[in-house]
């Protein structure tokens, strides 16, 4: 100080601080604040955007950004508080309208305020990481209006009440509803979820809980499902009309849970209208509805499928074990096919071709078809019936369809070798008697069997066809080399390879001289062209066409079996023959002879012989004369042999036995194959592997496998391990 005193005058340092008008910020803010008021009061016509923008810009530029920011928040909050009071005061129906109106006003004002504060938004807020103007405006609305205690619950209740009213059939203002809900969405996902969606879902859950209980007491299953479906579409529509698209999944799951999942068992098992009833009555529409609804809930389809499977198995079991049905194999198989068609149609029309349902259908059929041991036989008989007569006049395409269906059933069979056995027999009969309707169909089926079971399965069947073809050529060659035979009886021989055909005991009989001469000629011709072969005559399988003239000059051509021919030829030389005489002359075994005579004398319309005394059965003491009064409107008369179409009990046993006998080498081969590769294996594993390997052909019996193992041990193919008796070793 003393230093300064010495000087007379003092030059003040040139150091003016640049001072802005201290009231500058307040003044500027006042302008802006007034503008915000005017905007909220919808009185903005006198405002200059340029001026307001520039003022806001200047405040930020002069470091009053925070003041501007806080000011805007305070002013807006005050306005919103005022608005919420106005909304609160609105009565009844006008409440929502008022809210919506104020919300629209706020949005408009917010947009304009944001425009004014655009520079602050871009610079001050950006660098200080504060909330931007627009989201801030929404937050303020949320906190001061939507969450205002006197509005919050009232708003929610109003909305829920409107939904409830719409559910009970009233018409509501969907546009207003949409706007208000949209407000929630604009305020952010969490606001929408917490303040509307969650309570909405809870209320819906409660509503459908009560309603579903009501419905289930008063409706049958079909009606209930219809109502559930209607509710579901209503809720989806509601989402489309005024909710957030994301809510669709949530609300539908509420309806699904309350209306379907919670009543699933009761619906499926409903007396007289549940699933079984629908299946029985082919209610495709109801079934489709059930499928589509149940598909939406966990375990829904499993429930439907389980009940269907149970029903199918029960129904199938009754079908195949009913002794009445077993009487007619064709009818039996036709019923199976019909059932399959029925369920196929249900699955394709109502269950959307669901693979799991198809699997259930297949496994059910597999289950019950094998309950009846005669199923393989019946299926073969069904095919036989179709190929004998059933396919006449049916287009190729349809033939294929029938065959494919049969193959479907075939696939279910566990004992495919039994089927093969029967099929061979039936095919042999068809081929030899020339009864097969369509060669093409026969071959087509064999191709199908081949693709299904492999070459081995059908090689013998194919051999039978080859024999038929070769025989034709042989016959041509035979008559070519014996031109003198064109006169007199014609002999057609079919040479069958032993082994390819079902073995039948050769039943000898005395052929008439005319025929036996021919047979000898053929024998010497055949053995002359082929060396190292043996021929034996299967007379029991032949047929003959013979011309006959009866007492009054009626001429007929009779189509008869070889045995019948032998009998009839006897009557060329005598008018009356006793049973004993016939038996002596022909040497046909008694049972065959009786059957043959029965068909010649006892069948009405076909009785070329007359029996004395007249009765249905053939007795040892009977005698026969030519029936002179025989009449038929046809020139050609076919005399059938009385044959049991189905196997008799002993025959069945025999077939069964043959099948079992045939299985033995197959089981043994499987055991050897497995042991050859594995060298050492324990008992249980062998059983398992053999069963698995043979599954495509038949279900091997464990005791039988055990027997085969014993037999192989005896023959030194295998040995037991010295220490562990359960282990088998392969002996190379």
């Amino acid at each position: 100080m003393s230093n300064q005193k010495k000087r007379n005058f003092q030059i003040e340092a040139f150091k003016h601080r640049v001072v802005v008008d201290p009231k500058y910020a307040d003044k500027t803010w006042q302008i802006l604040e007034r503008a915000i008021h005017q905007i909220y009061n919808q009185d903005a016509s006198g405002l200059s955007f340029e001026e307001l923008y520039r003022n806001a810009y200047n405040m930020v530029l002069h470091k009053f950004g925070e003041k501007l920011y806080n000011g805007f928040i305070t002013t807006m909050t005050a306005h919103l508080k005022e608005k919420s009071k106005l909304i609160e005061a609105a009565q009844g129906g006008s409440f929502l309208e008022e809210l919506n109106k104020k919300w629209n006003e706020h949005n408009k004002a917010l947009e304009m305020i944001r425009d004014i504060l655009m520079y602050m938004d871009r610079t001050y807020i950006e660098s200080t990481k504060k909330t931007h103007v627009h989201p801030m405006g929404l937050n303020l609305w949320r906190d001061n209006v939507v969450h205002f205690t006197k509005i919050h619950t009232r708003l929610l209740n109003t909305l829920l009440d409107l939904v409830q009213r719409e559910r009970t059939g009233e018409v509501i203002d969907r546009g207003l509803m949409r706007n208000v809900i949209k407000m929630f969405m604009n305020l952010g996902e969490s606001v929408y979820q917490e303040d509307f969606e969650k309570p909405f879902l809870d209320a819906s859950s409660e509503f459908y809980k009560v309603e579903s209980q009501e419905f289930i007491e008063s409706c049958d299953c079909g009606d209930y499902l219809k109502k559930a479906e209607k509710r579901l579409t209503e809720e989806i529509d509601r989402v489309g009309h005024y909710l957030d698209a994301k809510s669709e999944e949530k609300i539908t799951s509420v309806v699904e849970k309350e209306m379907i999942a919670n009543h699933m068992q009761r619906l499926v098992h409903m007396e007289n209208s549940g699933l079984v009833n629908m299946l029985l009555n082919d209610k495709y529409e109801d079934l489709g509805r059930m499928y589509n609804l149940f598909r939406r809930v966990t375990n829904g389809l499993v429930t439907v499928r389980d009940v269907m499977t149970l029903h199918l198995r029960e129904m199938g079991k009754q079908l195949v074990t009913d002794p009445e049905r077993s009487k007619d194999p064709v009818e039996f198989v036709q019923r199976l096919l019909d059932e399959r068609d029925k369920y196929d149609k249900i699955i394709s029309t109502a269950f959307g071709n669901d693979k799991t349902f198809q699997n259930a259908l297949n496994s059910s059929f597999e289950f019950f078809i094998n309950l009846n041991a005669r199923s393989p036989e019946f299926i073969s008989l069904f095919v036989d019936d179709k190929l004998r007569k059933g396919l006449k006049g049916i287009a190729d395409v349809d033939v294929e369809i029938i065959l494919d269906k049969v193959m479907m059933l075939f696939r279910y069979l566990q004992e495919k070798d039994v089927f093969e056995k029967y099929y061979k027999q039936h095919l042999a009969k068809r081929l030899l008697s020339g009864k097969t309707v369509s060669d093409e169909a026969e071959r087509s089926l064999i191709v199908k069997l081949k693709t299904e079971c492999g070459y081995q399965f059908t090689s013998k069947l194919e051999g039978m066809f080859t024999d038929m073809k070769t025989s034709e050529d042989t016959m041509r060659g035979f008559y070519g080399s014996h031109p003198e035979l064109s006169e007199g009886p014609t002999l057609i021989v079919q040479v069958l390879t032993t082994g390819s055909w079902p073995t039948q005991p050769a039943v000898p009989c005395n052929l008439p001289a005319e025929v036996s001469v021919l047979c000898e000629k053929f024998r010497s011709y055949y053995l002359g062209t082929h060396t190292g072969r043996r021929l034996s005559w299967q007379t029991n399988m032949g047929t003959a066409d013979i011309k006959a003239m009866f007492g009054k000059g009626q001429k007929h051509e009779l189509n008869v079996s070889t045995f019948q021919m032998c009998v009839l030829m006897l009557f060329n030389n005598s008018d009356r023959l006793s049973y004993k005489e016939i038996e002596q002359a022909t040497e046909i075994p008694a049972s065959d002879l009786k059957r043959c005579l029965q068909s010649l004398a006892c069948v009405k319309g076909k009785n070329v012989l007359k029996k004395e005394p007249i009765s249905k059965e053939i007795g040892e003491e009977d005698s026969f004369v030519v029936n002179d009064k025989f009449a038929s409107k046809f020139y050609k008369v076919k005399i059938g042999t009385v044959v049991a179409q189905k196997e008799t009990e002993p025959e069945k046993q025999e077939t069964r036995q043959r099948v079992e006998e045939d299985r033995k080498p197959q089981i043994e081969a499987a055991i050897v194959r497995i042991m050859k590769s594995r060298k050492i294996l324990d008992h249980n594993n062998i059983i398992a592997e053999v069963t698995k390997q043979l599954q495509p052909r038949f279900l091997a019996n464990p005791t039988e496998i055990k027997k085969r193992i014993e037999s192989l041990i005896e023959r030194d193919f295998l040995e037991r391990d010295n220490t562990d008796r359960k282990l088998y070793r392969y002996l190379a």
């Binding site: 955007f49 923008y53 947009e111 425009d115 655009m118 660098s127």
Partner: protein, 442 residues
Amino acid sequence: MGISKDRIKFNVGGRLFETTATTLANAGRDSFFGALFDDEWNLSPPSEDSIHFIDRNSDCFSVLLDLLRTGDLNVPANITERLLHREASFYGLLDHVRAAKWGPFDGNRLRLSDSVKGIAPGDGTAIRAGPDGGCCVAHGSVVHVYDWMLEEHSPINLDYQRVNDVGWIDSDNIVLSACERLGRGEGGMGLFSSSSGDLRYKFQVCHENQVKSYTAGALSFSPDYKIFSSCKGRSNEYGVGVWDQITGKQTDFFYESPGWSLGDADKLQWLNGKNCLLVATLFPRKDNCYISLLDFRDKNMVWSWSDIGSPMAIDEKRVRDAIAMEDSNSICVVNEFEDLGFIDLRMYGGSVRWSSRSKLMKSKMPDEPCYPKLALHEGQLFSSMNDSISVFCGPDWVLTSRLRRSYGGSICDFSIGGDRLFALHCEENVFDVWETPPPPII
């Protein structure tokens, strides 16, 4: 003929302008003009005579109006950049200015647009281009941050520890990796605001649930919001750490196996197609070079290469930088004479196929050499050597351009991003900004 309704008159700082609403519409809704002509503010019906007054600089308005008209930026000499940027900021047209200033990046059409001289002491460590045209330069323990207008913001530092690497997460966030300070838990890795320079978050390394102090090295980022950094801890925390960009939490750690080097890496590069991280530790940081690809999903080193045991007689074949090129399934490496070499990524244990482009360089090495660096940008390969940067193109990597400026000495680092190339010189603390000019008029 009536006056078009489209026409608009302005009085800017006393000067009259006439333009059309269509021209102003180019400014977009989030601009001064967008708001001014929004329906809400269009209060009185527009009359022919109404003139909008704007209290701003008229010369700048004229430049910006031309920008809206043509998309081209032509600044007369009497207008400084700062003034122009200030005015553009007022109208909300800064993005328009930036978009008009330089064109899409093409290494063969680059022009030197600016040279910025810093005040930092000592040599620069690294320069990193930001996504929107800015950059940051690491010098010793401080990082200087520049925005796209090349205005410098507050420098950033992590406890004033030596900076090893920096990187941009986005235009507002920079990650910095630094050496630790013994015993004080300082250094490591931090996230900073590029505009204010504030430290926003410090990343931690945990081992067996214990927070450890560490030195963070090279950085890399992946598009699925991960940060990778090579780490050296006190005891055995050597390896590559992984953090989540959103939560900031450490999510993974790949420990270095004995006889290999990860924690000291010079370079990390995330390979998006292979879902792998390239880690390269190079001479002279270590005596040998180690390059490996890490797959973090099953903690597996899926590919590796090293020059251990290879004949070192030819000394010049030392790898000084490496970069993976996913498109050609190879890794490009460079030695100190700027020879490029390639290693096939599809083979394990392959060797370097050198393309001995020029041995001429050997003769004229400058006094203070800088090791070459590599960069890859949209099929163009860049390598720096001494005071120039070479550009290579095509499947055989033919030399197509060379960027050079005599001032500032050797280039110690360069970086490409935001359609700009930044080259940091080791003397004078200068960095150059290279841009592709806007496309020709016709």
